[in-house]
């Protein structure tokens, strides 16, 4: 029983990491309808920026906040400069543009910051507590806390504010929104900026739980984040969190209990996604789009 709970905790720990980045993916999708391949690398660049700030001597929390703000601006800029010219194009073209950004950002990060391992200090101390026989890490609690806060704030922003209303309008019907005076371009920029900010926060909190900041830090997380978002439904922030947790827990439990799948444990989480999508084609919490014929 103990081992089960330990592995459950391990799964949750991994899951919140995936969920953090998945949330950014979901946000971009909800505001722009786009699958952003470059989200991970944007988060990577933001994380290197955080590192640079700490390298200059700024305290960690200040660096993180600064990086989030800069990333917000950066994300908005990317939308204006890179994505705007192809806004009207087919989804495939947009995917290729984000792929181009993915390649470019990763390389640019390496050129600016070098390829050696960097040490990103933690924003909070590393503790392991024993609660009723279960080992709980401060990392897990902080990440969960941050995720919950992000979800609540996002929900409030999107559902209860005028800005949120404008974002939703632009996402569902840009032409009509233009007619009623919403500045579509600005809303798109805000969406990208928010997603970039989320990514920066995710990176700054997640990377210190790994041994070092390297150019590859975001790549494996990205694939799982995509999978988590798909599992939960691309337009549901709650789905992103649940999806991430499911992925993490499924993997950990398979490693522990299913020896026959030794080496191919990934089959389980990804198989789960396929299964879910077969029965709910828009993910667990996603909304299915009804087409008028």
């Amino acid at each position: 029983m103990d081992l089960f709970v330990s592995q459950l905790m391990i799964g949750i720990q991994a899951g919140v990491v995936y969920a953090s980045l998945a949330l950014a993916l979901v946000l971009i999708y909800r505001t722009t309808g786009l699958l952003n391949f470059a989200q991970g690398e944007m988060a990577l660049l933001s994380t290197y920026l955080t590192w640079k700030f700490t390298d200059y001597g700024l305290p960690v929390w200040v660096s993180i906040v600064a990086s989030v703000l800069v990333s917000f601006a950066g994300g908005a800029l990317v939308e204006r400069v890179v994505m705007r010219p192809v806004e009207q194009s087919s989804p495939l073209v947009l995917v290729i543009v984000t792929i181009g950004m993915f390649l470019a950002l990763n390389a640019i990060t390496q050129v600016i910051f070098g390829t050696d391992d960097k040490h990103l200090p933690r924003a909070y101390p590393f503790e392991v507590w024993e609660v009723a026989g279960i080992r709980v890490r401060s990392d897990t609690l902080v990440l969960i806390g941050v995720l919950v806060a992000e979800c609540v704030l996002l929900w409030y922003l999107v559902q209860k504010t005028k800005l949120g209303l404008a974002l939703r309008a632009v996402a569902s019907n840009p032409d009509s929104s233009r007619l009623v005076g919403v500045s579509v371009g600005t809303m798109l920029m805000v969406g990208w900026g928010l997603a970039a900010g989320l990514g920066a926060l995710a990176g700054a909190l997640v990377v210190p739980t790994t041994p070092a900041l390297t150019p590859g830090s975001m790549q494996s997380i990205l694939v799982f984040a995509f999978a988590a978002a798909a599992l939960g439904g691309f337009d549901s922030p709650l789905g992103a969190v649940v999806g991430g947790l499911v992925m993490g827990v499924a993997n950990a439990l398979t490693v522990e209990y299913v020896d026959a799948l030794d080496g191919i444990e990934l089959v389980v989480p990804f198989g789960l996604i396929l299964l879910v999508l077969l029965f709910r084609p828009a993910g667990l919490f996603g909304r299915v789009h009804v087409e008028r014929v």
Binding site: L35, L103, A104, A229, A230, I264, V267, L274, L277
Partner: protein, 368 residues
Amino acid sequence: MAGGRPWASPNRVAAWLVGIAVLAFLLYVPQYYEATTVNRYTTAIFIGIAAMGLNILTGYNGQVSIGHGAFFALGGYTSALLMRDAGWPFLATVPIAALVCFVVGALVGFPALRVKGLYLALVTLGLAVVFPDVARKFVNSTDGFFDHNGEPGTVQLSIREHLAPPFWHDWFADPIADRLRDWIGARDQWAYYCALFLGLLLLLGVWLISRSRFGRALIAVRDHEAAAATVGIDLARVKVAAFALSALYAGVAGSLAVMINRSASVTKQEVFQDSIFFLVAVVIGGTATVVGPMIGAFILVFVQEWLDESDWLSDLLDDQRARLASPALFGIALILAMYVLPDGLVGGSRRLLRRLKRRRPVSEAAVT
């Protein structure tokens, strides 16, 4: 419409002439260039083959897949294992690899019926991620057909035994045999001509599909599924067939890759990268065009190489940074390409030609 274009319209003749010139050039490549360059051409050809396959699925049929690297790898493994464990010559393994991938592609196509768009893309990504693990587990296991030890997931082929060109002097009289040895006797030449032959064959296949009922059905399903169903198109059959065919193409491409790499082995990174590159080749060449993907593949391979080898970048930054920077340039080039030619090269040139034609004054048009 009244009859369509006359057979020998000026544009068609021009297209034929260009095609013949290009073909002649391609036939001549291994006679003129040294091995490394020839291998690069071979690589461009098989990437083009995989891209053509993906185009059937994504361009003509609208199902986006970012997992075709897995079929590519599967084809490679099939060929490599047949060569190593059963001693088959290379060309004989290609139909088997194609068949295996066709079947697996169909199997993947079935669940794909329920999953659409973005979610399908992610399911295929999942395939790309899981496949290397599965290969590592079952290739090189200790019993059965795959009975070899060594690096899990790797099938190593020796040149002398498996990859050398067939011996010609047994079949032909000496002067002919000598000629043949000269032309296709080197390993890189042999690999290239195999690739070229298969590439042309498969290109013909795409061309035939594009002009057939099946091709029209593909497009109909892509553009308006509900309407297509109303007209009587069997959605399931069309979509699964598209998956199966695209996987077949990728499998053949993977077999050819084994000739260049002298082994079959995959990592998640490679499968992911291959999947992305196939998609890029399709889009920059021109989705839903016959030659677009092949052209896109050539652009991809040669632009990448040009960026990697160019000196001006290392004059600007130091050597290490220059090498790191070339993917950045590549990514930026991709983005710019999408600004300028969102329909890809072939699509874009067609639009250009159409616009040029519209500029013609009316009187001149009447004379012809």
